[in-house]
């Protein structure tokens, strides 16, 4: 039996990160969810939690085995339904995809564990939506087709709409309406951008688009650039760059803690898409359309960092402060990508992994701290002291120091790599100034918040360490923080991996060979865009079936 299953398993591995959460979510739906406190501690809730946690742990194992496979440099191409590219949809697992998958599922495990501490019983179908979110995010990371990327964006967005209002309340619904409307407008722009890309190149397969864009004449290239700019707006809205970040602080601050922590990965989906479209398809070697966004991306990223940290300084609550730090961290990552060199890309990937873990941990920490401050919650005002000042204080210190980039924490390493990689580029003075000043201001903002939270306390007894701080919640947060600290220890292998990932992304020929086959590469003639001339329709070159 296992002889039969093992090849089947390895053959279909690229699609499993999408199918696993899908089937888990469907089973959870069938199991039903009455919700509310009535089901709290009931056998059904226990079964749901067990199934949900088992699935995320399985997914984490699966994604790490994909990393192990991708680390050798193979491009694992999976044509869905056996249809050859560019006519069918392909999934591609390269180093970048595998890294993003592993990051997603590694964050998901502690976050879901945290959510089983009580949040999942404060509404219905939390686990179902959590798995649909994971399905959308995983799908967006593995797909090799731009329209399929749109579909997975919609899957993750629909799940995120429901998760955002999980727990309900007026504030969440207000933020929810804004978030949904903004993202629906962005979806419309996404479709417009895709339609232009299709109209110009006649294909939506990422690898094929990358080949065709190099063959475009100057007039068509400028139309393609317009489409790419529309896509930058869409991805920029997801990633929260200037001037499209204004929705993020209110939305993330309104969401419940585990949801906000999981949303930390969603800004990275936007960043990932910018890498795929604007840094790879429109990278060097894209002919007339090459580096179309070079003039925009770096300045926008630096302004995003600056405004993000100013927002963090002005924040009146801890959750808003962390939300603004999310904005600043996205700016830092995009600054690395905006330099358009493999070294800077590698540094940006390293920093992205670190910032996702730290931001997710900080969002969980916000709720731990707030739950011990009574009525004051996470507002930055003096209140009665927290019940566990040493534990929470240490965790805040570690998270804050890493977010600000103090040595020897991974945030420092990430920022150092970005600074180092910018040294030989013309923009290095700007990058150095902004990154260093922003790091300093982040430190000030977090130090101010920390001193108000832990030192500037009102006389009186500390709040009782109630149900808000069960050991499970603390352990889940600690494990996320520990994972981010592990990045400092494992910096060398991770940096080697991201170096290789950045080098792999620049290798267009390898992708063409892997996806389109030896005769479908750069030299192949194309019938696209389809003009309908008689006798022009040719069948695609046959490609080995999986």
């Amino acid at each position: 039996m296992s002889d039969l299953l093992a090849p089947l398993f390895s053959m279909h591995m690229p699609v499993l990160p999408v199918l696993l959460p899908l089937f888990t979510a469907v089973i959870l739906l069938i199991m039903g969810d009455q919700g509310g406190e009535a089901s709290h501690g009931g056998p059904l809730l226990k079964r749901r939690r067990l199934l949900s946690l088992t699935a995320v742990v399985l997914g984490a194992v699966l994604s790490w085995s994909l990393v192990a496979e991708a680390a050798s440099g193979v491009l694992n191409v999976y044509p869905l339904g056996g249809w050859p590219a560019p006519f069918g949809i392909v999934l591609i697992i390269d180093r970048l995809s595998a890294l993003m998958l592993a990051l997603t599922w590694t964050v998901a495990v502690p976050v879901l564990w945290y959510a089983t501490g009580g949040w999942d019983a404060r509404g219905r179908h939390f686990h179902t939506m959590f798995h649909f979110l994971l399905m959308g995010v995983s799908g967006a990371f593995v797909t090799g087709d731009l329209f399929n990327l749109f579909v997975f964006f919609e899957v993750l967005l629909i799940a995120s709409y429901v998760l955002l209002v999980h727990g309900q309340g007026r504030e969440r619904f207000k933020a929810g309406v804004h978030y949904v409307v903004l993202n629906l407008v962005a979806s419309a722009l996404f479709l417009l951008g895709l339609a232009i890309v299709y109209g110009v190149t006649g294909t939506l397969n990422m690898t094929d688009v990358a080949l065709r864009v190099a063959q475009l004449g100057p007039e068509q290239a400028s139309l393609f650039k317009a489409g790419a700019m529309l896509l930058l707006v869409v991805f920029g809205l997801k990633a929260a760059i200037v001037p499209l970040y204004l929705w993020l602080p209110g939305t993330y601050a309104a969401a419940s803690a585990p949801v906000a922590a999981m949303f930390a990965i969603m800004t990275k989906v936007g960043v990932y898409s910018i890498i795929r479209v604007h840094a790879v398809i429109l990278g060097d070697g894209a002919g007339h359309a090459a580096l179309a966004v070079e003039a925009w991306l770096l300045p926008v990223a630096l302004i995003t960092m600056a405004l993000g940290v100013l927002g963090a300084l002005a924040a009146h609550s801890l959750s808003r402060l962390v939300s603004y730090l999310t904005v600043a961290s996205v700016g830092t990552v995009l600054a690395g990508i905006g330099l358009f060199t493999p070294q800077a890309m590698s540094a940006a990937l390293y920093y992205m992994v670190h910032s996702t873990l730290v931001i997710a941990a900080l969002f969980l920490l916000v709720e731990l701290v707030a739950s011990q401050r009574g009525e004051t919650g996470d507002r930055l005002q003096p209140a009665t002291p927290v019940g566990q000042p040493v534990l929470l204080g240490l965790m805040t210190l570690l998270g804050a120091a890493s977010a600000a980039g103090l040595p020897p924490l991974p945030g420092f390493l990430g920022k150092l790599m970005i600074l180092e990689s910018s040294a030989l580029t013309p923009a290095h003075a700007w990058v150095w100034t902004v990154v260093l000043v922003v790091s300093f201001l982040t430190l000030i903002g977090l130090a101010r918040a920390g001193s108000i939270l832990f030192w500037n306390v009102l006389p009186g007894n500390s709040q009782s360490v109630g149900a808000g701080t069960s050991s499970r919640l603390v352990m889940a947060t600690v494990s996320l923080l520990a994972l981010s600290l592990l990045l400092a220890v494992a910096a060398s292998p991770l940096k080697r991996y991201t170096d290789a990932a950045a080098a792999q992304l620049a290798d267009r020929a390898a992708y063409a060979e892997a996806v389109l086959g030896p005769i479908g590469g750069a030299a192949a003639a194309t019938t696209r865009p389809y003009r309908g001339g008689e006798g022009e329709v040719r069948l695609p070159p046959a490609k080995g079936q999986p």
């Binding site: 579909v151 007026r170 419309a188 339609a195 389809y530």
Partner: protein, 120 residues
């Protein structure tokens, strides 16, 4: 007047009306605006397969056929658009129920948090 001009200006007018409605302050016009924008986008995708006259919609043994791919894309976009429109209507109704106002900010202008006439 060419067919291209007619289609392009039609998309433009519908999209402009949609954007105007999205910028309104109440949730219902916003939902209508999203629908209109969705229609404009769907026709735009369709037009990106080029405008065809006297061509078969699906592949026959002989003769010209229209580009089938945008038709498949637009079907997907319509289905997703339908689902999200249903969701945003439900969201708007719940927000109206929770806050007592159908304004997108969750409170009537001049009655918001921080205003003298604040009524929670």
């Amino acid at each position: 007047m060419s067919l291209e001009f007619l289609v392009a200006s039609g998309i433009g007018v519908v999209a402009a009306a949609g954007i105007y409605l999205i910028l309104r302050g109440r949730t219902w016009p916003v939902v209508l605006g999203l629908c209109l924008l969705g229609y404009a986008v769907n026709v735009f995708i369709f037009a990106m397969g080029r405008l065809w006259q006297d061509a078969a919609p699906i592949l026959l043994a002989t003769g010209r056929v229209a580009d089938p791919l945008p038709q498949a894309l637009v079907l997907t976009a319509i289905v997703i658009g339908f689902a999200t429109t249903g969701f945003v209507i439900e969201m708007a109704l719940r927000s109206r129920h929770e806050s007592g106002s159908d304004h997108v900010d969750g409170h009537e202008p001049g009655h918001g948090p921080g205003h003298p006439g604040d009524k929670p």
